[in-house]
């Protein structure tokens, strides 16, 4: 718009009055067209998401019929639907959730929720947030707990839940989940940072992908203050390792200076003793280590020994180098 207006100013200066009036009219028309184009793109994007999700949900399955109407909630109205737990979704790039209700005369009711999480990374992230187990075979991975199945696929996080768990409802929930997975856009990749976490010693299904400080504190309470400068612009992975319960945290920042600033602040506020050695003993059998590498900060928490802390840090460094996320000369 700025460029358009600047050009028009130059042109207008050299025109007579009649030409000026004609030029102003042309300018107004062009501006209106551009605004209309931009607005229709946004609307189209929103409609596209809702239509995609809608096509994925069948009208009937094993005797359960979908209601004619759906409910949709966005980043502001999600609290009306989920209450405070809506913040979990808002801690990612959540766009909206659409809800279908399935009923049959004999009951129980079944609810289908399709969350548009904006990106496959964030769909995985919300799936990983509180999962306690994971199976393969639906989407990128699914968790089944009683009458509820949740899975992630592409940018979507999907939950299918029966009000009561019966043999029939369990079969219907599974059938709905599989059908929706078949119809949604194809699978997205697990976030690259998650794939880079060392596998040796990792406790299964403990990888958590997130962005902001409250999410870190949910999984591992580090500090009230945001000592690692986490934000919606950072990608973070936390996973648990044995022996003991050691945590490896790897954060990707938008730039190397931002990573260095976060690391420096963390050392100053949380580990001043580690300023020189990069590792410190914080309690009996608990070591903490932190270092920065280009855009990354790597933190090991509650390691059983200095050696273990160092080994995990080095494993993560090696992963980053092998994946060409950092170069050897940046080590």
């Amino acid at each position: 718009m700025k460029i358009l207006m600047g050009t028009c100013d130059h042109v207008l200066y050299h025109l007579n009055t009649r030409s000026l009036v004609r030029a102003a009219g042309v300018l107004a028309a062009v501006t209106a067209f551009m605004l209309s184009f931009m607005l229709s793109c946004a609307g189209e994007e929103g409609n596209k998401m809702t239509t995609l999700a809608a096509r994925a949900v069948p009208g009937e399955v094993l005797g359960w019929k979908a209601s004619d109407t759906t409910e949709t909630y966005d980043r502001e109205s999600i609290f009306d639907y989920i209450d405070g737990a809506g913040e979990v979704y808002r801690s990612y790039d959540f766009r909206e959730v659409t809800v279908w209700r399935f009923t049959r005369p004999a009951g129980p009711d079944i609810t289908v929720e399709i969350f548009d999480m904006g990106t496959p990374d964030d769909a995985y992230g919300v799936f990983s947030y509180a999962r306690e187990s994971e199976e393969s075979g639906i989407g990128g991975g699914f968790e089944q707990r009683g009458g509820v199945i949740c899975f992630w696929q592409n940018r979507y996080y999907v939950c299918v839940a029966a009000d009561e768990t019966t043999e029939d409802s369990r079969a219907a929930v599974m059938a709905l989940a599989r059908t929706i997975a078949e119809r949604l856009p194809s699978l997205g990749a697990v976030p690259h940072l998650v794939r880079l976490m060392p596998r040796e010693g990792m406790v299964e299904h403990t990888e958590r992908f997130f962005h902001i400080h409250p999410s870190l504190n949910y999984h591992y309470f580090l500090a009230e203050q945001n000592v690692l400068n986490l934000s919606e612009n950072t990608d973070a992975v936390l996973a648990a390792y044995q022996p003991g319960t050691t945590y490896l945290l790897c954060i990707e920042y938008p730039s190397a200076p931002e990573a260095r600033e976060a690391h420096g602040g963390f050392i100053d506020n949380y580990l001043p003793e580690a300023a020189e050695t990069g590792a410190t003993k914080v309690a009996a059998d608990k070591w903490v280590s932190a270092l920065t590498l280009d855009r990354y900060v790597i933190v090991v928490l509650d390691a059983v020994s200095h050696e273990r802390a160092t080994a995990l840090v080095n494993s993560m460094k090696k992963s980053l180098v092998e994946a060409k996320m950092v170069t050897e000369d940046q080590l």
Binding site: I82, G84, A85, E87, A130, G146, C159, P214, F221
Partner: protein, 276 residues
């Protein structure tokens, strides 16, 4: 003696040292099919307030809390999987009316408190809700129940809802709460799933915890949850995120007592399965 009792209670003359919380349980409060027995709930509420105020008549207890010309808002909680219950709401309402408050001056609401004619001009508040685990604050608590008095609840979400205690300074709320009722019929002690609710992690406790100090009542509830989780999981499995807003309501906002040493807990009813 319970702290937080209003100036109209002449019994409160000695120095306040401890907050009294009454935990009452009844095995008949919740039927096998999950239905709540209203008569039993009324009996439980009556027993609780009589123990709270050392009185033999529940109406006399409510006459300590309210005057006939008070306008009373009962702040409830309508979260569908685990609401306050109409039985608790009606039990409170009945005793308010018994204490002389006309029915038209009693309002019961949750999300609609702002703009509600009763709550806008309320002189007294009664706070009633179930305790449950909560994805962002650790537990849904009496302290948190007032979040709907702010037009922008996310303002209090930072740091696992640490600032919830400050809600009680809002002009529409400040100084008006006479009684807090923490509903513990079928509490949710572990949150999983897309809505942080799974019936698998509820259990029939059949209790109410009642007191004038919301921090003390919430602290008792939190201890109960920690005990239940230890029993169920076989280990100390901390609530995530930590429900530190309860302690902060004490240490930062001076709303009440969170230290068990400053809470006088009176237990009524069955000891079996009481856990604390």
């Amino acid at each position: 003696m319970a702290i937080g009792l209003p100036a109209i209670a002449p019994e409160v003359t000695e120095e306040v040292t401890k907050s009294r919380v009454v935990l009452v349980r009844d095995k008949d409060a919740v039927a096998a099919d999950g239905k709540i027995n209203g008569e039993v709930v009324q009996r439980m509420l009556d027993q609780a307030v009589m123990a709270l105020f050392d009185k033999k008549d529940p109406v006399e207890c409510f006459k300590i809390l309210v005057k006939p010309d008070d306008i009373v808002g009962v702040k409830s909680n309508e979260w569908a999987p685990l609401p306050t219950t109409t039985q608790v709401e009606q039990a409170i309402k009945k005793r308010l009316m018994g204490a002389g408050v006309p029915e038209e001056n009693i309002g019961i609401a949750d999300r609609g408190v702002l703009g509600h004619p009763i709550f806008e001009k309320a002189t007294v508040l009664i706070n009633a809700r179930p305790m449950r685990t909560h994805a962002w604050s650790g537990v849904g608590s009496l302290i948190k129940n007032y979040i709907m008095f702010d037009p922008n609840p996310p303002n209090y979400h930072d740091n696992a809802c640490a600032p919830l205690g400050s809600l009680w300074e809002l002009p529409i709320v400040k100084g008006k709460t006479r009684l807090n009722v923490l509903v513990l019929f079928t509490p949710l002690f572990h949150g999983v799933g897309p809505h942080h609710f799974d019936k698998t992690y509820t259990w029939t406790y059949g209790g109410l915890a009642v007191g004038a100090d919301p921090v003390a009542v919430d602290s008792v509830g939190l201890r109960l949850f920690q005990a239940k989780r230890r029993e169920y999981f076989g280990e100390d499995k901390p609530i995530k995120p930590a429900a530190h807003h309860i302690a902060f309501a004490d240490t930062r906002y001076h709303l009440g007592n969170s230290d068990p040493a400053k809470i006088e807990l009176i237990k009524l009813g069955s000891e079996e399965g009481v856990l604390i």
